[in-house]
């Protein structure tokens, strides 16, 4: 007598079960945004006597309650802000010890001495919208990144933003990581991000 084979399990409804699960996961999936502009807040400490900063080394950006920009006492459109910030940071108007040999700016004596001295001061109103604030922040960070990219490409043949991305997720990077971090620090020192935020006006 021939052996009876085990009866086959009907798999016809497997697709239905899988569909059910699939739809559940489709519905619950939210593609989370987890990227943004990173900032560091200044610690609270009482500075006894704040260092005196020359007016020409400060680049003031004021955003008012109607989301209008006032840059160095002039009304400005958002699209011009990045170029203005780059021109200010890269000016390199200093003489002697304060000279900046890698700056490619106009060397205007009435603008910043060198990138290390240049400070961007951002002030906003309590009624400024968050949209406007983020836009301004983004443009200012973009100005720094533009200059850092330029120097990183000149020195290391690679964009600064790419270097940072590599340093963060190291698995794909085969070169010397310590060296990479050193290079990043070097570029950061050339154009240190000095963005000061004043308390909003009441």
């Amino acid at each position: 007598m021939a052996k009876r084979s085990a009866p086959e399990v009907n798999a016809g409804s497997m697709a239905d079960i899988a569909f059910l699960l699939l739809i559940f996961f489709l519905v619950t999936t939210t593609i989370e945004t987890d990227s943004g502009i990173s900032r560091k807040l200044p610690p609270i400490e009482d500075v006894e006597d704040p260092p005196i900063i020359k007016q020409k080394n400060i680049f003031t950006v004021v955003v008012n309650r109607n989301d209008q920009l006032l840059v160095e006492d002039d009304l400005m459109e958002l699209k011009d802000l990045r170029a203005a910030a780059v021109a200010f940071l890269d000016n390199g108007g200093g003489q002697g010890e304060e000279a900046c040999d890698y700056c490619k700016g106009k060397r205007d004596a009435s603008s910043s001495d060198n990138p290390d001295k240049a400070i961007i001061s951002l002030q906003n109103d309590r009624f400024t919208s968050y949209n406007a604030y983020i836009s301004v922040q983004n443009e200012l960070v973009a100005a720094y990144n533009e200059l850092r990219n330029r120097e990183a490409e000149r020195l290391f043949g690679m964009k600064f933003t790419e270097m940072e991305a590599l340093a963060k997720d190291g698995s794909s990077y085969s070169g010397n990581r310590d060296r990479l971090k050193e290079n990043i620090e070097r570029v950061k020192l050339m154009y240190p991000q000095k963005l000061s935020e004043a308390e909003p006006k009441k």
Binding site: A18, T33, N131, I134, N138, A142
Partner: protein, 160 residues
């Protein structure tokens, strides 16, 4: 009677659906892997602004989320139209932030505490006053690493 019946011509054979479960399972596994379960139910409108100079937040478990924005439609009758802060699952006040940060810190291993980042997920329409208050509170508890969570995109879309 013949052993080999001739098939009646013209009729198309049915398409085999035997591999359908396989295809569905493939999709299922993709979504299972890609799914991040939402930790918090949003009770506020949260239309983030766009920016293009963004950095990725890599370590998800080291991020504390603070949400802010106008209450969603169904909460507006109880909580009004003013922008509010949401911590975890609940509406909160500015002065609750300190306790929230401390609680988050206590739940993490001690050596990881310095790497904690605060992600601000704030609706674009919110006034800066509220955000300044949040930042002031964060400075007081020494949670200085913050991240303004944004969508990826052109900033000029924010202004309209």
């Amino acid at each position: 009677m013949s052993k080999f019946k001739k098939k009646k011509g013209g009729e198309l054979p049915a398409i085999s659906t035997a591999s359908l479960p396989d295809i569905v399972f493939m999709l299922l596994f993709f979504f299972m892997v890609a799914t991040v379960m939402r930790q918090n139910t949003l009770k506020i409108q949260n239309n983030l602004p766009s920016a293009d100079q963004v950095e990725k937040l890599d370590k998800k478990d080291l991020v504390m989320y603070i949400y802010a924005g106008k209450p969603s439609q169904r909460y507006q009758s109880t909580f009004g139209q003013e922008a509010r802060i949401q911590l975890g699952d609940k509406f909160a006040d500015v002065k609750d932030i300190k306790a929230f940060i401390e609680a988050e810190r206590a739940s993490k291993r001690e050596e990881l505490v310095p790497f904690l980042t605060t992600a601000l997920k704030v609706d674009g329409e919110t006034n800066m006053g509220l955000i300044s208050d949040i930042k002031q509170e964060l400075r007081q508890v020494n949670a200085l690493k913050i991240n303004y969570t944004t969508k990826k995109g052109d900033v000029f879309r924010n202004m309209n």
